[in-house]
């Protein structure tokens, strides 16, 4: 089976996010007064071949920790978004 998987990598809480802060500073001028806590990150779309959804999640989780994120400063979240 092939599973469509999404990996979201975001900075850990407490790690400075200058990009997020810059975006947040621009918001009032654009009229978005009620938006805050902007965090930036990266999203990856993968197709994983596996026997089960759990298997796909495991492969993607391992890849997310070893390569796609730097666990020193980043968190990775894996979501299986569909089959094939």
């Amino acid at each position: 089976m092939e599973y469509a998987v999404r990996v979201d990598v975001t900075l850990k809480r407490g790690i400075a996010d200058p990009e997020g802060a810059t975006i947040e500073r621009a918001l009032p001028a654009l009229g978005y007064a009620g938006v805050h806590s902007v965090r930036t990150g990266k999203a990856f779309a993968l197709v994983v071949e596996a026997d089960s959804e759990a298997g796909a999640r495991e492969v993607a989780g391992s890849l997310a920790t070893r390569l796609l994120s730097n666990p020193v400063i980043e968190d990775a979240a894996v979501t299986v978004v569909g089959v094939g």
């Binding site: 790690i15 400075a16 200058p18 990009e19 796609l68 020193v72 400063i73």
Partner: protein
């Protein structure tokens, strides 16, 4: 004389500069392709600046999986001098050979400018020839040079005297003004500034000499400490 290997990843760009700087100081330095898996012929190794593997994903994230990195780790384990400059520092943190990580600069722009560094520790292969408190003018050239780590790591770095260089006037938001750190043994050092760019007053500063001369001396010590091998 010791032999220093300067690792070339595809996308590295300071490798020739490092070789020419070490050679100008009387050292013997050679380029080593990243596919190499054996560095036993070298007494010390430098990971130079540049954009290894295009810096795609994160600086250093792909380079740490280059075949040569196993041999770099073995060299570090054996206590021989390992120096990561700029992108090389990023690779060493990604590879777990140094703690912490390097983030985008506070101002979110690339910065190429002279900086004044203050020597914080001389207990490393890079700073062994300098004096604590000595000020050195050495240029930086990076987009992701802001050092970050958690509180426990920072405390440990300070307590174990692993912070080797700090910025006098922090250009990038680095935690504790950190410009360079060492591992606990002092033989693995990473720094964001480029000492090879500060070798002569003709190019603006000669303050990088004391750092690279110290590194070459450490490489010579490592060579002397090696078991003698008779040529077949």
């Amino acid at each position: 004389m010791s032999r220093v290997g300067v690792v070339v990843f595809p996308g590295s760009n300071c490798e020739h500069d490092v070789v020419s700087a070490l050679t100008a100081l009387g050292g013997r330095a050679e380029l080593v392709w990243h596919a190499e898996t054996d560095l036993s012929a070298y007494d010390a190794v430098v990971l130079p600046g540049g954009f290894a593997h295009g810096d795609y994903l994160r600086p250093g994230a792909l380079a740490r999986f280059s075949p040569v990195m196993g041999a770099v780790a073995a060299l570090a384990e054996a206590g021989r001098p390992v120096l990561g400059i700029c992108n090389g520092f990023q690779v060493l943190t990604e590879a777990g050979l140094l703690p912490g990580a390097l983030q985008k600069n506070r101002g979110l722009t690339f910065l190429c400018q002279p900086t004044t560094l203050v020597v914080a520790s001389t207990r490393s292969v890079l700073t062994r020839g300098a004096a604590v408190g000595q000020e050195l003018v050495v240029p930086i050239n990076h987009f992701a040079g802001s050092y970050v780590c958690d509180d426990a790591t920072y405390r440990a770095l300070v307590e174990r005297d692993q912070v080797v260089l700090r910025y006098k006037d922090n250009p990038n938001g680095s935690r504790g003004d950190i410009a360079g750190i060492a591992n606990e043994a002092g033989n693995v050092v990473g720094l964001m500034p480029h000492p090879e760019r500060a070798l002569t007053a003709l190019l603006g500063s000669a303050d990088g000499r004391v750092l690279l001369e110290g590194f070459l001396a450490a490489a010579d010590d490592a060579a002397a400490a090696r078991p003698l091998v008779t040529a077949p």
